[in-house]
């Protein structure tokens, strides 16, 4: 059956179904992206301009094993998805605070300031840009095939002893 013999109604319906499938597919990609998007959260217990660091607390994200932090400490958590819950307890187990927060979709690395959080400030979460992060060196050429080895250079010859 060629395209000319298809009735216009059928053609439109077919087009609509195909467009619908594409839209659903793109939506599915979006949903999976949001659900699986990973974030690195730096949990920071250093004093800020407005608030002092807290000595001896346990910070737990999403009920996972807590991070024990003393004044000036910093720890890191790997998170997946956007919505999370942070809870802060004292070393002795006394609950001090529990709060939900949403991570921005485009933020790969964020800093959660515990002093700001405890002081009730809304800006306790901010993007974190590591300073002077050294770029990892490119790998040495793995084989003799220059074409398949990025950098396109053979390793420098080792001088004879």
């Amino acid at each position: 059956m060629n395209a000319m013999s298809i009735a216009p109604k059928t053609r439109i319906r077919r087009l609509l179904v195909r467009s619908g499938i594409i839209v659903v597919y793109v939506l599915l990609v979006g949903i999976v992206f949001v659900l699986g998007k990973g974030h690195t959260l730096i949990v920071d217990n250093k004093k800020t301009l407005e608030s002092e660091a807290i000595d001896g607390i346990v910070v737990s994200i999403d009920g996972k094993e807590g991070m024990e932090l003393y004044a000036g400490d910093r720890d890191m958590a790997k998170l997946k998805g956007q919505r999370h819950r942070v809870s802060v307890e004292t070393i002795t187990g006394e609950k001090k605070l529990e709060k939900s927060f949403v991570l921005p979709i485009d933020g790969d690395m964020l800093l959660l300031s515990v002093p700001k959080l405890m002081a009730g400030q809304e800006n306790f979460l901010e993007p974190f840009v590591p300073r002077d992060q050294p770029r990892p060196a490119d790998e040495q050429v793995g084989d003799n095939n220059v074409f398949t080895s990025p950098g396109g250079e053979a390793p420098a010859p080792v001088p004879a002893p």
């Binding site: 992206f33 998007k37 990973g38 490119d138 793995g142």
Partner: protein, 375 residues
């Protein structure tokens, strides 16, 4: 006499499997590896490789031989994974994300491959092999020069220091064994990745179901005789293209499953030998260019990988060098493919000769009968 004949027939039909079993039985004791270790390795490798090998069944069913073009699907899967790492999407969601991104690419690749193979009917295997080399060049161009320059890459960790091109090796920590660990069963000292096996079981069910559908029956007809299928109204070219598209998409998923288990991605050559080892596995399992079943896949993966596990150690123990075992892997892989193809060609020629002899015999009998009637 007939016993001898039937033994001979059995040997020629299963020569590859028998030879492989003999080599394996000889190599296992020399390796000194415990049975428990080998069994655990087999469980892991079954989960890692079976999906890829299953991707070969439908093209064989459609009479297109061993799909060496499955490498195209593997490249698509890798592009999906690179994007998942780039956008920092991890866990099972990262794998699904990679599969969703890889699917359209693999459909396109499958269409290209199927269309080219339709122009080279009867020479599909060598054409697919060459096509994989050609598309590999395009893949290298995209990944080495266009990513970061034309296609934006967010993650500097995967970019080369010059600012474009992807690094030689990518760490897949974000998705590492996320499917395997989703449902890991510890049983009698063995770790069994149930989720991975469920995915494989689903694919097996799909293959069985697909063969019973109208399209599946069309593929069977095309595989049996293209001219007859064409005369019966089966769209031969379209059916063959669909078979290759399905195989390429499955190879894309298979490569994602393979790489999540490995935990790292050799960006520029992880796909190089995907088809080679998958083809070797299915042939070792007793499949041929014309016929392959699901049991062939499982038997093949187990046998090939037992040998892969034991040969380096056997080489070390027997010759004092593990490299001998490594060499043996390559030698065995290529050897099995060559042996299968030679045996297939030999069997096909033998069958033609037999049928010709049968026809001649029939003609002689007919001549005798007609002479008798005349007398």
């Amino acid at each position: 006499m007939s016993g001898k004949k039937s033994f001979g027939r059995f040997f020629t039909e299963n020569a590859v499997v028998i030879i492989f079993l003999l080599i394996t039985f000889a190599a296992v004791p020399s390796s000194g590896l415990s049975i428990q270790y080998i069994v655990q390795e087999m469980i892991t490798r079954l989960g890692r490789n079976t999906f890829l090998v299953l991707a070969l069944i439908l093209p064989i069913f459609a009479g297109m031989g061993l799909n060496f073009g499955m490498t195209l699907g593997a490249m698509s899967g890798q592009i999906g994974l690179i994007m998942a790492i780039n956008w920092n999407v991890g866990g099972v969601e990262g794998l699904i994300f990679a599969a969703l991104l890889g699917t359209p690419v693999s459909i396109l690749m499958g269409y290209v491959c199927g269309s080219v193979l339709n122009k080279a009917k009867g020479r599909e295997m060598v054409t697919g092999y060459m096509l994989a080399f050609f598309i590999n060049g395009i893949y290298q161009l995209v990944v080495l020069y266009m990513m970061g320059a034309i296609f934006p890459i967010r993650s500097h960790a995967i970019l080369l220091s010059r600012g474009y091109g992807i690094r030689n090796t990518l760490n897949l920590d974000m998705v590492r064994q996320s499917l395997d660990d989703l449902l890991m069963l510890k049983l009698g000292g063995y770790a069994i990745p149930i989720a991975t096996f469920l995915v494989i079981a689903l694919l097996c069910a799909f293959v069985i179901w697909f063969k019973k559908t109208k399209l599946g029956q069309d593929m069977r007809a095309v595989g049996h005789d293209m001219a007859v299928a064409e005369a019966a109204g089966v769209p031969v070219d379209r059916t063959r293209i669909i078979a290759i598209i399905i195989s390429t998409v499955l190879a894309c998923y298979g490569q994602i499953i393979f790489l999540q288990n490995m935990g790292n991605l050799a960006t520029y050559n992880a796909h190089d030998q995907t088809s080679f080892f998958a083809v070797a596995a299915i042939l070792v399992g007793g499949a041929s260019v014309k016929k392959a079943t699901i049991p062939n896949v499982f038997v093949g993966v187990i046998l090939l990988h037992i040998l892969f596990v034991v040969t380096p150690r056997a080489g070390q123990n027997l010759f004092g060098s593990a490299m001998i075992g490594e060499y043996f892997r390559q030698f065995i892989g290529y050897g099995v493919i060559a042996l299968s193809l030679v045996l297939y060609a030999w069997r096909a020629r033998r069958d033609v000769l037999r049928s010709r002899e049968g026809l001649r015999g029939g003609a002689d009998r007919a001549a005798v009968a007609s002479e008798g009637a005349a007398e």
